[in-house]
Point group: D2
Chain length 145, copies 4
Amino acid sequence: MAQACAASSLEPSLVQRLLLCCQEAKKAAYCPYSRFPVGAALLTQDGRIFSGCNVENACYPLGICAERTAIQKAVSEGCKDFRAIAIASDLQDDFIAPCGACRQVMREFGTNWAVYMTKADGTYVARTVQELLPVSFGPDDLQKV
Amino acid sequence: MAQACAASSLEPSLVQRLLLCCQEAKKAAYCPYSRFPVGAALLTQDGRIFSGCNVENACYPLGICAERTAIQKAVSEGCKDFRAIAIASDLQDDFIAPCGACRQVMREFGTNWAVYMTKADGTYVARTVQELLPVSFGPDDLQKV
Amino acid sequence: MAQACAASSLEPSLVQRLLLCCQEAKKAAYCPYSRFPVGAALLTQDGRIFSGCNVENACYPLGICAERTAIQKAVSEGCKDFRAIAIASDLQDDFIAPCGACRQVMREFGTNWAVYMTKADGTYVARTVQELLPVSFGPDDLQKV
Amino acid sequence: MAQACAASSLEPSLVQRLLLCCQEAKKAAYCPYSRFPVGAALLTQDGRIFSGCNVENACYPLGICAERTAIQKAVSEGCKDFRAIAIASDLQDDFIAPCGACRQVMREFGTNWAVYMTKADGTYVARTVQELLPVSFGPDDLQKV
Ligand SMILES: [Zn+2]
Ligand SMILES: [Zn+2]
Ligand SMILES: [Zn+2]
Ligand SMILES: [Zn+2]
């Protein structure tokens, strides 16, 4: 099954590296309002890793999530082909899941790549972008009208 | 199955009314940039219907979707309990699906309510918010850290 | 001076009505995260008033401000010509000012209309959209490339 | 005058470097929808430069501006003290101005730093964040309620 493949095709050592990166990225979080730091690490097809954190704003709607920060960084450096993203938070008992907005931004760059959602202890579950945003609206739809 | 119930519990006449409302709402769309008008009609638990359309901006990220316009209208009028939302666009051959950001805003107010995605001819498919945004981050998660 | 006119041309009784409306609108605020309720009341050229409040989200960036809620409501009801907007918060000693995102959304619909920023006691200062967002990017700029 | 100082205190060679960087950053813009590429270059107090570009989305509201991309990159790398940001677009006859949302995100990290707005030929005007977002809402206001 293609989707399972996307999520399972990463070598374990690479997964571990990505998990460490998103934990590390979390340290830069600017979250004085939520006090809910999040980190993300994005692996591109050519093997680069871009990290991101949440960057909040006194006007809450103007903040941005860790996942989108990482994706925007990658795009601004010329990378638009992604293999996987890992996300870390301080949640002890729950796997941190990306918000819907981040799923939509992930989906802009493909549906069949992997999202690793972790707990604070480093355990994780993986899903594809497709699984996290089923029946999605995307770039093709704009061409159809 | 609870989720199927949410999507199937609306009386057919109410569904038809909601479908007409979202088609009508589409006419107010302010979309000079995408030229992709979208309308939404939101049914509250107490039987009121709030309509919305997309409202774009020359700075594209500052636009808003039809679904969120409808939800914000309802909340600003004191309604936060929703039964269903219907969405209309000019897509002939595809059911218009809500973006991830709108799914997250829907999810803020519950996961077990229905989303009717229509084609221009008025045919539709229905899903619950839960089905459209599985494994979601929500209000409870913020309490856990 | 045209800008001063925009801010001063409202009859006092209409200003008072607008101030009451934004105070009233504040009561519907959904702000469990910031606990910072804001209300807005938008006066259209044809004399209608649309109210709005902030509608927050567990994923903070997906919240929306009171001012934008009011504007989106008006547009979705077919009104795009605005005379004035009034904003209320619980700030005792400061006039509540719109965020930059709201200023940009106001500016989409014209630069020469009035923004009334109030304190909790109902006193206010007024500025034009132009004064609050000088040297602005707007719809015309997109045509020029 | 402090504000003028902020905008004029950069050595000419540093300004030139920043201008080149934002032009270069523009090349990475992902803007299939607006076809309006924008680049930004952000200078930190410790002399680092972070570049950004706009990253659009099929769901327009989920795109992000060049200026915010640059700021989020810097924060995610541990830099929150900024001296100046330069912005480039393809506009021939107008200086590209930041949108209100970007001004608010700039303002989160201080009001007295410089924004260089350029034309395609590299000429520019400079303003402080304070001048671009007067009477602003900011981090302090949240403490007051
Ligand atoms: Zn997110
Ligand atoms: Zn949407
Ligand atoms: Zn605002
Ligand atoms: Zn911007």
